[in-house]
Symmetry: C2
Subunit: 376 residues, 2 copies
């Protein structure tokens, strides 16, 4: 129950359990083209080009900075947690000037602040932000942030939220979506994906190379001719193809709705145990639930107890939140019963740690959310 | 029979056929540490630090350039094929000034030319070259090139030769070895590995960041604390661990000797069919055999015939050699009987293409090489 790498459906495991293929066979090229077409449908874009790198999501994030911004240029970055701040670190590393709108961990990015920054900095041509902030569970209002960004190019880190929370690229006029294989896409880590729209691709072309390994033009040209510039991560691409087929078979709307329900059930269950959820209420926060540790115990003790007592792995807090929170991931191959199991284990863990907890309250609350959802 | 991605031994396939693990579990951290220790033994180094990136070998190559050289600095690059020239492209992309010693495809790098370049360019502090040039089958004399490079830092692309051809890092005073998972290491593509010695790590530290995703210091610090800076490619690392255990169980010397015999058997078999081997005779050329297509047919026709008639996949020529050669890979999980099978298929393919070939001559020649090897 950690927010990535997430569990693999059986057919995704099976896709790795086969002999290796030469990377230039028609079978592999067709699998990659199929995965690319499917990524386009999940991103709800006609013209966006999914670029698949043998790398993790952070590699794809870095590619967005180096392909879209030259050293010395100015950008706006709006963050509200560890991964939003990663944009700023990548930019600093690349010598980019950053107007950093840093919102508190656990709060959302305020679109009004983005609008002000855009007005104040006409020379900042690209805006970077985060859809699902994995370090806190916050899901930002990307539609509103996009509108606030006006005519600027906008790049959205959707590493944990892609295929989990609705993000219609064309309808919302998103220029770039960045994601990774190991969250909502239910594939092992090792694929970083940047889906770049026409304006972004044009800007990258004008800027020249985005770095040898992560150059967008080189990658796109390779994909379009069936010959990636470097050996692709063959087994992972086959697995991604299978995982994407699963998402499409369930249906995009059903996938998004399932995650909304998982998030709601998890939050209600946690609150019924007297614990506080880090992020403000947000119906779209179906990726990961950040839970504030009660004052008398700490997040790491709860994590350890869950692991020792019930063999359930949750994630800890990052940065300043280390020890203060724990995070229950539910992006990808998760059902309501995974939430129910986790809440059950959490009740037992809290009781074992000596906390006065009403046993059954968490699972009951979650059950009521599920019943209401089933009733429509 | 292509030189990568190479076939996976059954236990390496099985290592991928398991449920995903959270990347911070003690089990995964131990597997990664085990793989790192094993890489150090295969590289025959005490102090070299294997840095594992979720990327392909080209990503690890790019990391060596960006971590060791600042834009505007001068380096010496000695190439004799497509992958040697890749160093030059990476350097150009990074704004590095290159003294390029370009030897013809199919010939070796001349160490004397490296010595001259080193003397002529005292300000070129790093020398880049290739151990096994996958585009031609040539294996360079790295010991001699290293001596010719004098006091300079030397970086060796051993993507296809690592774990195939002897390259004792400490004994030969090699500063950096770069490799990938999908050749001699018998693991799916998706891991790029740079093994960096103390002088190289120190230079990289002084230079500052080598790029956000490929920064050596960030990666090393992460590995040393059991927390990689980015999500590692969990399934591939588990597979690498198993593949390395296989190499160590066979024994390094036995692995190197097996590849010498494979190379010799392949060359003798090909020549007995009246075809010419691209690379000059070299007892260490056990990675891939580049075969010149006879004038009356072309390399692509032979490749297609092998695939259609015998379901054997070989690789074509790259760059100017496209169509002029085909390449039989034998690095990794290959035995003598794979060579025998390939030569048999090649005889049938040449006959089917109307070439006057003495059926049985190729397999007999290879068989004699094997018998001599078995006799010691």
């Amino acid at each position: 129950m950690a927010p990535g790498p997430t569990p693999l459906p059986p057919e995704v495991i099976a896709a790795a359990a086969q002999q290796m293929q030469f990377a230039r066979t028609p079978t592999f090229v067709a699998a990659q083209e199929d995965a690319i077409a499917s990524l386009r449908r999940v991103a709800q874009t006609e013209q966006g080009e999914p670029l698949i790198f043998a790398a993790t999501g952070s590699g794809a994030m870095a590619s967005a900075v180096t392909n879209l911004v030259a050293p010395g240029q100015k950008v706006i970055m709006a963050s509200c947690g560890n991964f939003g701040e990663r944009w700023v670190k990548i930019a600093a590393d690349h010598g980019v000037e950053v107007v950093h709108l840093a919102f508190a961990w656990g709060s959302q990015v305020d679109p009004a602040a983005v609008a002000t920054a855009v007005a104040d900095h006409p020379d900042a041509e690209v805006v970077f932000t985060t859809q699902s902030e994995t370090s806190t569970g916050v899901v930002n209002d990307i539609k509103a942030i996009r509108e606030a960004a006006g005519d600027r190019i906008i790049v959205v880190d959707a590493v944990s939220g892609f295929g989990v929370v609705d993000l219609p690229m064309d309808a919302w006029d998103i220029d770039v979506i960045v994601t990774g294989s190991q969250k909502g896409l239910m594939t092992p880590p090792g694929l970083g994906i940047a889906i770049a729209g026409p304006r972004a691709l044009e800007r990258a072309d004008e800027l020249g190379s985005g770095g040898y390994y992560f150059g967008w033009k080189r990658t796109l040209d390779g994909q379009n001719t069936g010959r990636t510039p470097f050996t692709p991560a063959v087994s992972l691409v086959f697995q991604l193809q299978v995982a994407l087929a699963r998402i499409e078979a369930e249906g995009l709307d059903a996938v998004f709705e399932r995650h909304r329900i998982l998030g709601r059930a998890c939050r209600e269950g946690v609150r019924a145990l007297g614990l506080e959820v880090l992020a403000d209420e947000n119906p779209e926060a179906g990726v990961v639930t950040g839970v504030l540790a009660p004052s008398e115990t700490d997040g790491k003790a709860i994590m350890s107890q869950l692991k020792a007592q019930s063999q359930i792995q949750v994630a800890g807090g990052q940065g300043d939140l280390s020890g203060k929170i724990f995070r229950i991931g539910h992006c990808g191959w998760f059902s309501f019963y995974d939430i129910l199991t986790t809440l059950s284990a959490l009740e037992l863990a809290l009781a074992a740690l000596g906390r006065d907890v009403e046993v059954g309250a968490g699972v009951s609350a979650a059950q009521r959310v599920m019943a209401a959802a089933a009733a429509g």
